[in-house]
Amino acid sequence: MRLIKAMTLAVLCLGAAFPAVAQERSGPLRIEITEGVIEPLPVAVPTFIAENPAAQEFAESITRVIAADLAGTGLFREIPRDAFISQVTSFDSTIQYSDWKAINAQAVVTGAVSAAGDGRITVKFRAFDVFADAPLGDGLQFGGSSASWRRMAHKVADAVYSRITGEGGYFDSRVVFVSESGPKDARLKRLGVMDYDGANVQYLTDSSSIVLAPRFSPTGDRVLYTSYETGSPRVFVLDVGTVQRRALDVPAESMTFAPRFGPDGQTVLFSLSEGGNSDLYSMNVNGGGLQRLTSAPSIETAPDFSPDGSRIVFESDRSGTQQLYVMPAGGGEPSRISFGQGRYGTPVWSPRGDLIAFTKQNNGRFHIGVMRTDGSEERLLTASFLDEGPTWAPNGRVIMFTRGTQGAGGEPALYSVDISGRNLRRVPTEGPASDPAWSPLLK
């Protein structure tokens, strides 16, 4: 993490070397994610050119990560290299569009990597819209330490994804999660952080006490979570770079859990349980400013701010079962937004502000779903024995969550799914994992 913090990514626009020729097609290459893609778009990613011998080891690896990012969205299909008719031998010469048309490549991504003696590498790329005979935007160049080669690959893939979908990217991001081990009745848990694709895992705590449900700060530099380190559940904040942690300064006799950062990176929302009753509170992460936001005999927990900080969505069983409610950020009269069959929990506001993702329990099954912020247009994206705890990709188009399997050997794993309900995938982790929380896009 220190490496990443220290790294500076230089972004350089390479300019449009190839003027776009007249287009026959009605519009540019474009995928609409919300419509759900049935047939992935064929894309060719020839191995990036190594511009000097030291760049050799990175060129192949970076190309593989870019192709995996794109194919992993379910929106793209990588054309196998042995199908290529022409090879790309120079970054600066234009591609032979007819050769790529012949193998039905819709887009081609070319690139080059060079390595300097000081351990820095430079990655540059161009993207082409094959059937328009035209480049897809300008070439771009990223520079950084060689240790951050994966991040540079993710940035290339983010740029390609953005140009074709019109959406922000999400590959250059991290996920904080709970790594699990041991038997079901004596499970050990520790916090881990990894790249969105499961690479570069680092552990942030040991497994000497139960840790639950971490959440990133808006800048990704800190993590809030619940820990049993002091004997009973309590909200902690941890600096991702230094791994220093401390308990929040809450009343000592209370139990606190379900912490979330506000968009200001200072306000912390959480549940505080006293006398068996859990209500929502907020306070400053550095102490002070404790404010009670709900006062009901029911359970109020799992809060989340709207991206503009003006409202809070949370779950409450005040109606008799778990349902979702929205209230002003300072507290006040909540309005119920979930009205379907079953129980609703763990609401999470999309970073785009347009949707709320949630966990739903109905007829002994668990679902991850999304609804508009007024509760309308509910859609269930998944179904299983135990799906829970959605978290949004930085672009608000993909959701990661925990899926548990049943029985004595039951174990949790991380999965991701599009908001269209397509492209359900298991996120690779070393062992059982739960409670993912996605970071914002890295800077």
């Binding site: 639950l212 859990f257 009753n277 799992a302 779950e315 002994g364 135990l386 004595a408 039951g410």
Partner: protein, 171 residues
């Protein structure tokens, strides 16, 4: 030997009392055998009515709950009435009440539900005369199941509140 049979009788008496009249235990409750000379740090023998082991195994250290509920059943109040009696007779002990949930629920909701269940037990014990200063609650949500299958046979054991006796002080 004499102590042993006495303890068995006591258990029987408690059991009968629990079945017929949960509110009254007569003289059989506690204070009989043992009481002093026990190493306060140990669990003591299960045959010693003033031992935590006796509390755990003969009285019963846990009560069970219905799905998504924290109200106490008639069975639960019988056990808790005996727990309160034991605590009254063994004032050197304190108790930590753990609230648990089964896995059919989201993580944070289950933390809140476990807190509610632990508090139900605490309130009942206090209503039976136990000083709240000797009691503390904690929730484990669904983090510490006792039985690990994924059906009601296990779930019913996991929806529990456990009264854990401590020798002195509350950690």
């Amino acid at each position: 030997m004499k102590l042993h049979s006495k303890a068995i009788l006591l258990v029987l008496a408690l059991g009968l009392a629990a079945c017929t009249n949960p509110g009254r235990f007569g003289a059989g409750g506690a204070g009989g055998a043992g009481g002093s000379g026990i190493d306060a740090a140990g669990l003591g023998g299960v045959n010693d009515p003033s031992s935590p082991a006796y509390f755990q195994q003969s009285i019963g250290d846990r009560v069970l709950f219905a799905v998504d509920q924290s109200s106490l059943s008639a069975d639960a109040t019988q056990v808790l009435t005996q727990q309160a009696r034991w605590l009254a007779n063994n004032p050197e002990f304190t108790a930590l009440i753990e609230g648990h949930a089964d896995e059919q629920g989201t993580r944070e909701y289950n933390l809140a539900l476990g807190a509610r269940r632990a508090n139900s037990v605490m309130e009942y014990l206090v209503s039976q005369g136990v000083s709240p200063a000797r009691l503390k609650t904690i929730t484990y949500g669904k983090e510490r199941p006792l039985a690990i299958c994924s059906d009601e046979a296990c779930y019913s054991q996991n929806r529990r509140a456990v009264t854990v006796i401590a020798a002195s002080g509350l950690s």
